[in-house]
Symmetry: C2
Subunit: 354 residues, 2 copies
Amino acid sequence: VTVDLDALCARIGPLDETAMTAARDRQDRLTKPRGALGRLEDISIWLSGAQGRCPPVQPDRIRVVVFAADHGCAAAGVSAYPQEVTGQMVANFVAGGAAVNVLATVVGASVRVVDVGVTHPPPGLPADVTRYRVRPSSGRLDVEDALTAGDVRQAMAVGVQIADEEVDGGTDLLLPGDMGIGNTTPATAVIAALTNGDVAALVGRGTGIDDAGLVVKRDVIQRALERVGPHLTPVDVLARIGGCDVAATTGFLLEAAARRTPVILDGIVSAAAALTAAAICPAAAQWWVAGHRSTEPAQSAALAALRVEPLVDLGLRLGEGTGALLAVPVLRAAVATLTGMATFDEAGVSDHDE
Amino acid sequence: VTVDLDALCARIGPLDETAMTAARDRQDRLTKPRGALGRLEDISIWLSGAQGRCPPVQPDRIRVVVFAADHGCAAAGVSAYPQEVTGQMVANFVAGGAAVNVLATVVGASVRVVDVGVTHPPPGLPADVTRYRVRPSSGRLDVEDALTAGDVRQAMAVGVQIADEEVDGGTDLLLPGDMGIGNTTPATAVIAALTNGDVAALVGRGTGIDDAGLVVKRDVIQRALERVGPHLTPVDVLARIGGCDVAATTGFLLEAAARRTPVILDGIVSAAAALTAAAICPAAAQWWVAGHRSTEPAQSAALAALRVEPLVDLGLRLGEGTGALLAVPVLRAAVATLTGMATFDEAGVSDHDE
């Protein structure tokens, strides 16, 4: 299974300018000063462009796809949790007990879990969770390549396939999520490689490592970057210092764009994937908004490199899709105002510009 | 009608520490790293304390109360809109066509409009909107006192009465809103007086005035502050440079605290009222959270003086209660996670701290 990236990129088109112009025009006639709804106006215009209609409709089927994978670097001591927690949390997602489940329910979304590289999957996981597994874990990136070229192709193809299944099934808003002990380490490495950033400034505490753990994590990432050197292609970055989760999410984001389906990005793993996907196909980035700012410095650096400002900033550092879910009500508010507010004419309110 | 402020302050008690301790303890047992939900955890603990129970329940009856009033300073050219728009927008609120109506619907809240000082109320407004009117407009604060001492007492009493009516009617989350052409001018003056702040740094563009208008507005506020001099009591501030809307909201916030009902603050008018209310009774402030950061510099200054960080920052500058409404989903998410997530024990997930 392989993805033809050139063909995929060629399928990614622009937002619908006609719908966006109509949305801008309507925003300016609503009973409020022009621009007074701030970023709600921008989001309403963006979603009009993504849906190709003005006013846009409320997203009807919102799906979080959690790409779960383990990472060989966990053996280096980069996480506060044992690796077995990845599989335990996958079971928790399936049972509905995790934060992503609860937050999805509260905004009317649903959660799909895709195991692309869990080392110790608990027995009894549904086949639709496990059937996409690329490999268990990954290579320890400070001393060896994380994935083979074949693993990357397969993981990206899984992401493409999942996006297609979702869009074919009627999903009209996609939220990438992640679960994997150690995953902020490859994600930070990918972001550092693609932004040519300073590792010491990019490394964060992930699940909550202490100062000593932070030094270990920084050194692991630094050694990984030294090992592979500069001038890698985006796909090489995924293979050498990434992981199945980042690779799958990269394919997922590209295919979502090709299928003209809007996306809300989540935390550092989806930011790393977005940066990689934008490096492969810059036009894809217009189909995504940044859900939230996490406490991971590399996530902020990736969003800055993508020139996007997150919608929510509440100090979360959980991943799973939780930060993206917190932005869903912002989209709903944006759609509701553009759709439901009276215009100056309709309400008989004096507009100073007329 | 008068409010005994000493008696009112004496009725304001603390949050429930037992419930907050239970909430903190429960947060630490949920299947996520401790603290990983960021401010959602803080909000869940705060709401537990306000409701006096852990876990807290989802707010069931959420009400925005829009205090509408005109301001004499509009004659000085501080707004981009004619004063008649205040009444027109009150009619728009009643008809359900304004941003506050639409955003209330989308988060399951309702809107109540209270005319405390509209100059040109349109014919046909319902009696429950108009019966609380204190006076039309206010004095032009750069040359005369905005209100009499009697006006202030009456406006504060209206705010107290509305809070009581709401809590008696079952409202369990209160959001103050505002409508009034010119209202960012007295609100900025009040905040400048109470923070001893620099007017040039505090003044903002309100509905969207141009550079020339900004100079006029700054000068009007500066002259008002020079006219009244320093060392005013909070109630004197309301009378001399405030307005019926700020005064009513001040009473509303104090009574909400006395009735142990949580509040989400909105933009600059509610921030000015919160600062005034906290100056009258510091204990009241623990019953409020800041909904959003508006683009008005004085609103940020007031929130900083209150030592609260807003939950949402989306560049809104509309008032009405719209910024507070955007924070409602954050509260819902906080309650949902504390209530619905599995603990480490329940989910069989390994907790590194055990």
